[in-house]
Structure formats: C-alpha cells, structure tokens
C-alpha cells in the first residue's frame, strides 16, 4: 500500500456508459407487479403494531399487558424486557458518528426510560392490524415523568437534565473540559483565527437556525420476519442495506450471521433513513413466540414520530476577508441535534461547511447534542444542507459588505486540486473553477429578470461521498448471456447502471446482461446503498469481476488454439489469437464450449475502493416574493453538478431534480412542530407538507464531468449533493428580490413577513 504508482488512465470513449436504456426493473414498476416490503404475504402471517410513549422523557414504572393479551385474535405481546441480550454492543457501521448497538436496540423498544414522544414501549402481534391496534390501546403503562430537554440551547446549558449518565462517544466526540451536559464535541482548528480576524478588512458574524425535516419517503418502514427452523431466521424488508440489517440482527438477537438471511425487497425511498433496524427485531421476537411469520408496517404518523429526521440546528458563523475578497479566517460554532441517542450528523455537517473554499485560518466547533426527540438519521448528504445554508449565506453577506460579486469571491477562494483540505490532505481532482464559471456562463444566469419583488440567487455546495466495500458475481450462460448479481439495494436504477458498467467492461451489448439484487445468502458482503457509493464502489467491484471473467475466458479461448491465456487478446466481444489474428472466437462461442473447457465460467470480486470522487453542485434560482403574504414562488430553477462521468444521463438528471425539490421543501416549508410539552404536532402528510408538482417548476440540469481518477470510468457519486445548495440559493434570491437577509429555515410565509416587517420597523 501507498507504493508510488500511477493509477491507470480513466477511460474516455464509451459504448454503453452514457447511453439511456430503459431500466430492467421498469416493466414491473409501471404495472404494479414489483414487490415492495408490504407486498409480501406469507401463509399464517400475523400483523404487528407498536404502542408508543406520549411523553418525551419518562421512566417506565410498570407495563400491564394482560388486557391486551386477553383480546381475541391477539397472539403475543412484548415489552423491552422480552428482548434478547445483545451479543455485541459496539460495531463499526461506517456512518459518521458513534454506533452503539445498545442505543439502537433501545431505540427499537425502550427498556427503563423513554426518550421522545413516539418511543416504542410495547408491541403486539395479532390476526389482523385492526385487532393489533385495538390491543395496543389496552396496554396500561405507568410513567414517572421526567423533565424533558427540547432544544439544543437548553440541552447544553449548565444544570440541564442529563439524558445519558453513561455514554461512550466516538474518538472525536468527548465531553469537553467545560463539562457540557448532553453533548459530544468535534473540534478542528488550523492557523490563528482570532489574530487574523483583527487583520481582516471586512468581517461578518451571523447566527442561523434550521428546523428538523424528514426524509419523507413515500413508503413507510415495513418488515416481515419468519423462522425457517428453530435457529434460522429470514427477514423480508425494504432496506438500503441487507447486510447491515443482518449485522444489527445478529447483535440484537444474539445469533450467528450465517443463521440470518435478509431479503431486500424493492424499496420505496430511503434517502438515508432506511439504514438501520427499527422493527425487524420486534417482528423476529414475536415470530419466535408465536411460531408464525410476523409483518410490521409502520403508519405514516409512526414514521414521522419515531424514525429519524435530519436535525434542527443552530449555527454561528464568523467570516473575514481582505479588500481583494480573499477569505482569511472562519469561525463556526455548530449545535446539531443528535436526538435521543448520540450519533447525529454533526461530523459530516461540520466538515462540509467550508471545505469547498481554501481558507488558511479555520476554527470548527461542532456539538452532537442529545435531547428528547427521535434519534436523528442521515438525510441525503447528512448535515451538509444545514451547514451550507449558514456558510453560503454568510459568504454572500460578506461579499456584499466588501462590495464584491459573490461568485467572484467564490472563484477567488475556490478549493482547487492540490490545495490542502481542512482535514489535512491535498484536494484530489475537482472541477471547482469550471463549476463556478459554468454558473456565470449559464443562460439562466445571463437571462434578464424583470418585475417587482423578483430576484435571482446562487449557491455552491460540496459533499464527500463514501467508498467502502462491495461484492459482485458475474456468471456466463451457455448461450452467451450473462447474469450479474451484486449486494447493492437498488433505490432508483443502479441495477441498470451497474449492468451498463459490466457491458462496457466486457465489450458486449447491454441487452445480454441480466442484473439482480442479491440477498445476504447469495452474494458477498456489500455495504449499504448510502453515501452516493453504489454506482462508484459497487461499479468497481463489477468491473473487477468482469476483468477476472475476461482473464478466465482468455484461458478457455486459448484451449481452442492450444495456447496460454497470455497469447489471447480480447476486445468488444471477440477473442483473437495474438500470433494469428484470423483465429477468433466470439464471446458466445467461448460460453457455449464452457462444458469442454473446464465447466461454468463465473467470476466474483469484492472491492474496497479508496479513490472517492468528491461531489460539487450549484444552483441558480429565480423567485418572486409576495410581500403581502410572505409566499415565495420559484419561477425558474437550474441545477449544475459535476458527476465525473454520467453512466445514464437521465438517471443522473433524476437525482439532481429529486434532490433539488427536497431542498426546495427544506428551504420554504418543511418543519417539525413540537409543542412545549415535547409532543410532535404535525405527524401527518397534511401538516408535514412536502412539495407537490404544483409547487415547483421544471428543474433544468447541467451535467459537468471532471473525471475521478479513483474509478476506471471517472465516476463520482451523484445522489446526495443535489440536496445541499437549494436553501442557500433561495435565501440569496429572496435577498436580491426584496432586500431581506433571512437567517432561519424554513423561509415560510410567516418568517418572510416577520423579516419584512422587522426591516420596515428599522427603516
């Protein structure tokens, strides 16, 4: 490792990559035949429901389940006391922040304390969901109410009620010398921030807040557990990672990994929220006790109350520059909710706040704050949207103070390949200058915008992305067709883009390849479909398997001519003898003879790629503000993104458009309302209002391609960064439309009006 090597050059000519075939699982999706988590019906199946705490912070004194158990049709009732003892308490699961298995198990069902409105305290399995729900209402729970902690400032204040007397944060998060209650800390500092601020010509200091928003997948969480023998368990579920569910279940059920099979069904949206066990262990325990399969399907209000949103935050930014617009110093103080248990997205949020700029003196002080709300979960570039809103808004205000165009300020300070990144290694290839110039040259940016209360805004965003491990298996059939199986859950079409990479690497028609998402019994360990890693990392595993296949097939071809594999060339579906190019065999011919050359031709690969290509994106947005009502209308929206190499350009656009609209909802409307008792008041899709088709215009997409040398085709992850820039861009547009500089999300009508009136009041 780290021997000086030159990576192989990135491919630049493609036959399959860059085309737009219809996805292989499309027919099933448009006919309703595709099997999602709730579409499975097993003989004798029971239905599970949960009882949830109405209190945000309380000790469970007693639970009486007798009336529930007596109800006709109820087969079993469980509480936290009925769950197995964990086999392992701390496991690396790769997500930023701390991973304590006991915390996740306690989040599934409380043991002695409940930590949020919606925390599960009991579960019922019955003949049908109505009986199960009725039974839950008959369970009697005695609570001793405890003082709840409901916002980040109260949580870190001296004397705050302590949620966890005993917790082990990760290596970067530890209680500070100030002995803050309820928080872990991430601290990074380079240079001399305070002295440099003295020397800056212009300095701005701003405070920003954002509200919690949910990932909002249309399909609620669902799982079906069935014991196939006394000690083997199968879980059918919609998940972003079958192997991760297996890992969690092995710990929670105290079982061996090989005794658990997780079958990933089609998944109706995840965005980071379906990467963990919520109901699988409850279903498994109830299935064991009843001897019947148990399905649990969460209601929408359960999803909103009990599964992690992305946190509410408070971010203080101080930014300073010289007359030329060079950013000299930055100081960020970030309080991000972690929710009921440690491990929210403070780390990625803090590290993405300013990483796209080359600032010599930086202080980043981030806190993972525990409080009586659901455990926060990743939502598509976790933490980055909030941090970007604060940092980009401060930059725009600083540029205004300095009399410099904000895009020019971004260009002056843009992180370029070779520049030192805040975490201390040089920036790999990144098309930052190209991206910023692309904004300036975009027809949208240059188009005139006329009319009252209309304005244009811009923002620029950065996200890391993950590598981590994936496995792929590729098998030739005797007719020359190919079966490809990977362990990556397919959220939106990756089984097709992985098949396209296989077709490209093998030099054959995409139509010959049949792709499949494997369960945990049928393919090697594959990390979750998160962190924009699937097309990148699983793609590398697929390419690696293809090259092993080609090597084996060269050997098989060689047998026809009685030569070694080294004497055979292969290109675009044809094997050619090096010493006599007239001696060729087609791919299908070699497959047809497999029986006579050594048996079925298969290859598999597991890869843990290291060269992740970072993601950058930008938005240009035009808005019109109704100054009577505070309503902000999006007139025009353009998304730009550098994807390295677009495997399926329509799918890439889909990611850009979907993430942009989620970002628009985050910016203008979505928020969690908790009352002062800590109860979530809007756990329905009527009152947690996500964008509809009428709320947004077309999202115009510009795809840039700066190849990532870490992938043979230059691929970068694409799925996450689109959600990062919209709130900052919209805030900028509103500022240019009506001269009001908002600092709080969402920029809903009430908040916009308040800001307009405050400004008038000052005038």
């Amino acid at each position: 490792m780290n021997a000086p090597t030159t990576p192989p050059p990135v491919r630049t000519e493609f036959d399959v990559v860059g085309t737009t075939p219809i996805r292989q699982d499309g027919f099933e999706k448009v006919t309703g035949a595709a099997r999602f988590g709730d579409d499975i019906h097993l003989p004798g199946m029971l239905h599970g429901k949960m009882l949830r705490s109405p209190h945000p912070h309380a000790r469970i004194v007693s639970i009486d389940t007798s009336k529930a158990e007596a109800l006709k049709g109820v087969r079993t009732v469980i509480t936290g006391a009925d769950m197995p003892t964990l086999s392992a308490t701390v496991v690396a699961a790769g997500e930023g922040g701390e991973v304590n298995m006991q915390d996740i198990a306690d989040n599934c069902i409380a043991r002695d304390k409940v930590f949020y409105d919606g925390h599960v305290v009991a579960a019922v399995a019955a003949d049908n969901p109505h009986i199960a729900e009725a039974a839950c209402a008959l369970i009697e729970v005695e609570y001793e109410l405890l003082t709840p902690v409901l916002n980040v400032h109260d949580a870190v204040a001296d004397g705050a009620p302590v949620l966890h007397e005993d917790y082990t944060p990760g290596a970067f998060l530890f209680p500070t010398q100030k002995a803050l209650p309820n928080a872990g800390r991430l601290f990074m500092e380079h240079g001399d921030v305070d002295a440099t601020f003295e020397q800056c010509d212009f300095v701005v200091e701003r405070e920003f807040t954002t509200k919690a928003v949910h990932q909002g997948y249309i399909e609620p969480h669902v799982t079906t557990a069935v014991w196939t023998s006394e000690d083997t368990l199968t879980i059918h579920t919609s998940t972003q990672g079958a192997f991760a569910i297996r890992d969690f279940m092995a710990s929670f059920m105290n079982m061996s990994l090989s005794k658990i099979k997780v079958v990933p069904l089609e998944i109706g949206g995840g965005f980071g929220g379906k990467d963990v066990v919520y109901i699988d262990s409850l279903a498994a325990v109830m299935a064991k006790r009843t001897g019947r399969p148990v399905k649990i399907f969460m209601s929408r209000s359960e999803v909103l109350r009990g599964t992690g949103p992305s946190p509410e935050t408070y971010i203080k930014v101080k930014l300073g520059c010289n007359k030329e617009g060079q950013l000299l110093a930055a100081d960020l103080y970030l309080l991000f909710e972690a929710g009921a248990y440690p491990g929210g997205p403070i780390a990625p949020g803090t590290m993405c706040a300013l990483t796209r700029y080359n600032i010599p003196n930086v202080r980043l002080d981030g806190y993972d704050v525990f409080l009586n709300k659901p455990k926060m979960k990743p939502y598509r570039a976790p933490g980055a949207t909030q941090a970007n809103f604060a940092a980009e808004s401060a930059l725009v205000d600083l540029a205004e103070a300095a009399g410099i165009d904000p895009i020019d300020m971004r260009l002056t300070n843009a992180l370029k390949p070779g520049d030192m990144m805040p975490m201390g290694f040089p920036c790999p290839p990144l098309g930052s200058i190209e991206m910023l110039n692309a904004i300036k040259n975009h027809p949208h940016y240059k188009a005139p915008l006329e009319g009252e209360n209309r304005g244009r805004g811009v923002s620029y965003a950065f996200w890391f992305g993950a590598g981590l491990g994936s496995s792929a298996e590729i098998r030739c059939n005797s007719d020359g067709t190919i079966n490809l199986t990977t362990g990556s859950a397919d959220l939106s079409g990756t089984r097709t883009t992985l098949g396209m990479q296989a077709a490209e690497e093998l030099g054959v028609d995409f139509a010959l390849i049949s792709t499949n998402v494997g369960d945990t019994d049928s393919v090697g360990y594959t990390f979750q479909s998160v962190g924009s890693r699937t097309t990148f990392a699983t793609g590398i595993a697929v390419i690696s398997a293809c090259n092993k296949l080609i090597a084996e097939m060269k050997k098989r071809d060689g047998m026809e001519w009685v030569v070694e594999a080294a004497d055979v060339d292969y290109a675009k579906g044809v094997f050619t003898l090096k010493s006599d190019p007239s001696k060729t065999q087609a791919f299908a011919e070699v497959c047809a003879k497999a029986d006579h050359t050594g048996g079925p031709i298969i290859a598999d690969a597991s890869e843990f790629p290291e060269g992740v290509g970072f993601q950058i994106a930008a938005n240009i947005v035009d808005v019109e503000v109704d100054v009577e009502t505070g309503k902000v209308e999006i007139l025009r929206f353009s998304a730009l993104q550098d994807v390295g190499k677009a495997v399926h350009p329509d799918f890439v656009e889909g990611q850009m458009q979907g993430g942009s609209v989620q970002g628009i909802g985050w910016a203008l409307n979505e928020e969690y309302f908790y009352d002062d008792k800590g109860t979530l008041r809007n756990p329905t899709l009527l009152d947690y209002r996500m964008p509809t088709s009428l709320d947004v215009p077309n999202i115009d997409c510009t795809i840039l391609e700066t190849p990532n040398p870490g992938h043979p085709y230059g691929i970068r992850g694409v799925g996450e960064v689109p959600i990062v820039p919209p709130p900052a861009a919209i805030r900028d547009a509103i500022k240019n439309a009506i001269g009001v500089s908002l600092t709080d999300l969402p920029m809903k009508p009430g908040n916009v009006l308040k800001a307009i009136w405050e400004q008038k009041g000052k005038a």
Binding site: T20, I22, R23, D25, G26, F27, K29, V30, T31, G32, A33, A34, R35, F36, D38, D39, H41, H130, Q215, G216, Y217, I218, E219, P220, E266, I267, G268, G269, F271, F297, S299, R300, L491, S492, G493, D650, F651, E653, G654, Q657, G658, G659, S660, V661, Q662, T684, L685, L686, M690, P691, T692, S693, L694, D695, V696, N698, I699
Partner: protein, 158 residues
Amino acid sequence: MSKTHVTTTVNGDEVEFLVEPRQSLLEVLRDELQLTGTKEGCNDGNCGACSVVFDGTLVASCCVLGVEAEGKEVETIEGMASPEGLHPLQQAFLEETGMQCGICTPGFLISSKELLKAKPNPSEEEIRFWLANNLCRCTGYDKIVKAVQKAAAVMEEA
C-alpha cells in the same frame, strides 16, 4: 366483528369477498384480493399512492370503505396494460424515466390516465395541478410531467 359479503367489479372482472365494515377499499384490494399494485403511503388521503378509479371517479382508496364497493366498478393499476401491451402512459414513464423508486408510480399512472381522459391535451400547468394530489419524493416531478406530455402526444396521434 362480523363480515359483510360484497360483490363488485375490479378491472372488468366480477369478484366477491367478505370484509369487515372498518376495512378500507385499499386494504381489501391489497390483502383480500392480493392486488398489491395499489400502495399505502399515509392512509389518510394525503399522498395519492392509493389512487384508484371508483365508479368513474379518481379516489384515494384509503378513504373509501370496502363495503362501499358493492355493485361498483373499480379500476386499479393491474388493469392498465392490455394483452396487446403497455398503456402509452406506462410506456412513456419508462422512456422518460418518470420514476425512481417506483412506489408512487401506480398512483401517478392512474391519476394521469384520468387526467388525459378529461383533458387529452393538457398544458403543463394543468398537468401539475391535476397531479398535485400525488406525492413523489424521488423525482422532483420534472420527468413525470414530461412523461405525461409524451403520452398525451402519442395518444392524440393514435
């Protein structure tokens, strides 16, 4: 709770089933008739994933009771394609990448089918207005609208 016998027509076929009064049409379709193409997203009429045509009207099947189906005609996603092939809307959703995870797709297809029946040549605004009761979290709606526009054009020509 005792069950009511219901006879109804689903996708042109006469079917009968027993249902408790408290069961929704959505539940009946999915659990009694095993027609799982219609999806549950919220169970209170706010997401459109359970859209079906009920006696000629576009409805959220989670807000209709199973017993109300007596003597009525129900059209679901399973009845949209014919033995000859996919409906132009289904084909357009495939060609225009009008879906990502696919969970909202049956609801959108049913809603779009009714839209094009009522307005064979809708403007973009009319499409967005009509489809505003169907939530999609993956696509941002852009390619869904384009798929409906494509299907409208194909159906006009036919």
